[in-house]
């Protein structure tokens, strides 16, 4: 049996790691909630964002936290364009086709990155990457603490956007009743693209929060995809609070199962949880909707 002295830090670190999962999942669940599709290109887009953050530091000397200011609108535009000019027209409005188109995009992005940057793993060295602060009996890395705070801010900002702006209202209307929204003069194709853009912008922020402590290679985003899927399914597809809570929960489970089972089997813990949730509670633990 492990002592609380080991378990408490593990839980705390899991919570901090879970913040980034929550952010990645937030983007995914936003897109699912409005477009009703699973974006299989999510992981590849995250990898692309991580490369962007890496080169912003490497070539321009931009601190990742500073780079987020520029990369977030850039990835919003990228996501907007992808949905408006590629996914939307190519899918002919069929769900099965959207599935395949996003998978195709994932393959293209991932392998274009592999071609451009080879399979090398890259990291950046920041002076504060290994700074820690003590919280009770645990030591938490500063970048993780920053990530935790940033995710809370982003979630709040998104909530305000959804609640109080016209665009937010339009997004909610399209999510609820697409035809009705269209009849009241909302440009559905535009709203779809805006939502996709917001989901992609979340990835740019997540990438900037990850890069100080994580590495990047052409498949780096993939380890986050299934975690994000798990998180989203766990929290109930399309539910924003669900994605947040699910993200933190997955972080803790991963940290604890890593403690008990070791690194590579720790990953299995997540997959098994994912499969079990899909099989027995496909609407999520909070049963958002049928």
């Amino acid at each position: 049996m492990l002592s609380p002295l080991l378990i408490i830090p593990a839980v705390l670190n899991g919570l901090m790691a879970g913040a980034v999962y929550a952010l990645v999942a937030l983007g995914l669940t936003l897109i699912y909630g409005v477009l009703h599709i699973i974006n299989f290109a999510h992981g590849a887009l995250l990898t692309a964002a991580m490369f962007a953050a890496f080169f912003a530091y490497h070539l321009l000397g931009l601190d990742p936290y500073l780079a987020a200011v520029g990369l977030t609108p850039l990835f919003f535009l990228l996501g907007y364009a992808l949905q408006r000019f590629v996914i939307g027209p190519a899918a002919h409005g069929e769900d099965r086709n959207i599935l395949l188109v996003t998978l195709g995009l994932a393959v293209v992005i991932e392998n274009a990155l592999l071609y451009a940057f080879r399979a090398d793993t890259r990291t950046i060295n920041l002076p504060y990457a290994f700074d820690v602060v003590a919280i009770g009996p645990a030591f938490v890395a500063v970048p993780r603490l920053v990530a935790f705070g940033a995710v809370i801010v982003v979630a709040l900002a998104l909530w305000l956007l959804m609640r109080w702006t016209d665009t937010g209202k339009a997004i909610r209307a399209v999510a609820k009743e697409k035809l009705g929204a269209e009849l009241s003069g909302i440009d559905v194709a535009h709203i779809y693209a805006v939502t996709f853009g917001l989901g992609t912008a979340c990835l740019a922020i997540a990438a900037c929060l990850l890069i100080p402590t994580y590495y990047v290679n052409p498949s780096a985003g993939n380890s986050f995809v299934l975690i994000a899927f798990t998180t989203v399914v766990l929290g109930g597809m399309g539910s924003v609070p669900g994605a947040l809570i699910g993200g933190f929960f997955v972080g803790v489970v991963e940290s604890l199962s890593g403690l008990y089972l070791g690194e590579s089997l720790g990953q299995i813990g997540i997959f098994v949880m994912f499969i079990l949730v899909l099989l027995f509670r496909p609407n999520g633990l909070f049963g958002a909707r049928a």
């Binding site: 599709i37 699973i38 299989f40 590629v86 027209p89 190519a90 899918a91 002919h92 769900d95 099965r96 086709n97 599935l99 395949l100 188109v101 998978l103 195709g104 995009l105 994932a106 393959v107 293209v108 992005i109 991932e110 392998n111 274009a112 990155l113 592999l114 071609y115 080879r118 399979a119 052409p218 299934l226 899927f229 399914v233 590579s264 089997l265 990953q267 299995i268 997959f271 098994v272 994912f274 499969i275 899909l278 099989l279 027995f280 496909p282």
Partner: protein, 330 residues
């Protein structure tokens, strides 16, 4: 049997290739294309006819490959027997995944997700379990006797994979005309309506999944014998899941010849890219992704659909039944 003429011509044309050339490059290329055609035919049965898009057919391919290899290496089982057990093993994995997902009512995106997750779980397990050789993989000892499913030259391998592809073509053709096939297509077109008319949709989907898994597992078992090596990234890697769905979609989803046609086309394009770009990693797969998006955007019925359209343009007088997507009537 409808399409028998085309079938015989295609098989005969492919069968004489080793008699015309002894080039290992040509035979190797065709073996890989046929391997993808076989795996793709498995995907096509479930995805093309049943409308259940799996993103994790690697689970069946890998099981076929590992069972074939591990039974020989660790338990001294005869290679042919191991190959047969590998196919059965793939079918069992298909039955388990299918029973779990279909009973839970998973479809569409959810079905794609759970098949992907199962393939990934198997990949991670295979990369740590001692039984599968963990990270090192499993190497089958060289034993160049036909009794050990190994041959001096590539030609016998080529004929075996061609025969397997031929058998899968006939099987799918027969299913197309059977009651089971009609039920399966009904599930694809409108599952609720099929259910309301008394079709046991879970049993139908499960049956399609088991057959589909067995066909793809046969491709995996053949792979193990052909290369005499299996590791987790090859057997359960995402590449085979993508190739298996790309071939039928490019060739013509839900058609008998689609996977074979698609596999030949994408493998040709892949080799061409490698040639032009001096084997740069990733570029061939990036091209596959582009093809996938382009085909869905501009030719959702694949090459078979394009050929049908061309034929209709050339013979406008000959009216064909509107509902059919099939090439080669009469």
């Amino acid at each position: 049997m409808r399409g028998l003429g085309i079938f015989l011509i295609v098989m005969a044309a492919l069968a004489i290739v080793p008699l015309l050339t002894a080039s290992n490059v040509v035979l190797n290329f065709l073996v890989m294309a046929l391997l993808i055609a076989l795996a793709g035919q498995g995907w096509n049965l479930l995805g093309g006819y049943g409308g259940q898009y799996s993103f994790g057919h690697a689970a069946f391919f890998g099981t076929g490959a590992y069972v074939t290899a591990v039974l020989q290496v660790r338990y001294g089982v005869n290679a042919w027997l191991a190959f047969g057990v590998g196919i059965a093993g793939g079918a069992i994995v298909g039955a388990v995944i299918g029973a779990l997902s279909f009973r839970s009512g998973l479809k569409g995106s959810y079905f794609a997700l759970i098949t992907l997750a199962f393939a990934e779980v198997l990949r991670i397990l295979a990369s740590v379990a001692p039984l599968t050789g963990a990270g090192v993989g499993t190497l089958i000892a060289l034993d160049l006797r036909p009794a050990a499913f190994q041959f001096q030259s590539r030609a016998p391998f080529y004929w075996i994979i061609l025969a397997l592809v031929g058998a899968s073509l006939v099987l799918v053709r027969l299913i197309e005309d059977s009651r089971f096939g009609a039920y399966l297509i009904a599930v694809r077109e409108n599952e609720d309506a099929a259910k309301a008319l008394g079709v046991n949709t879970i049993t139908i989907k499960l049956g399609a999944m088991i057959l589909s898994a067995a066909i793809t597992a046969a491709a995996g078992g053949f792979y193990a014998q052909y290369f005499l090596f299996v590791d987790a990234g090859i057997a359960y890697g995402p590449w085979i899941s993508i190739d298996a769905l790309l071939a039928p979609i490019v060739g013509g989803i839900g058609t008998v010849f689609g996977p074979l046609l698609g596999a030949l086309v994408i493998k040709s394009l892949g080799e061409l890219t490698k040639l032009v770009t001096a084997d740069a990693p990733g570029l061939d797969l990036a091209l596959y992704g582009c093809i996938l998006v382009l085909v869905i955007a501009f030719a959702p019925r694949g090459i078979v659909g394009i050929l049908t359209d061309i034929k209709r343009c050339l013979h406008p007088a000959k009216t064909e039944p509107p509902a059919s997507l099939e090439p080669g009537h009469g």
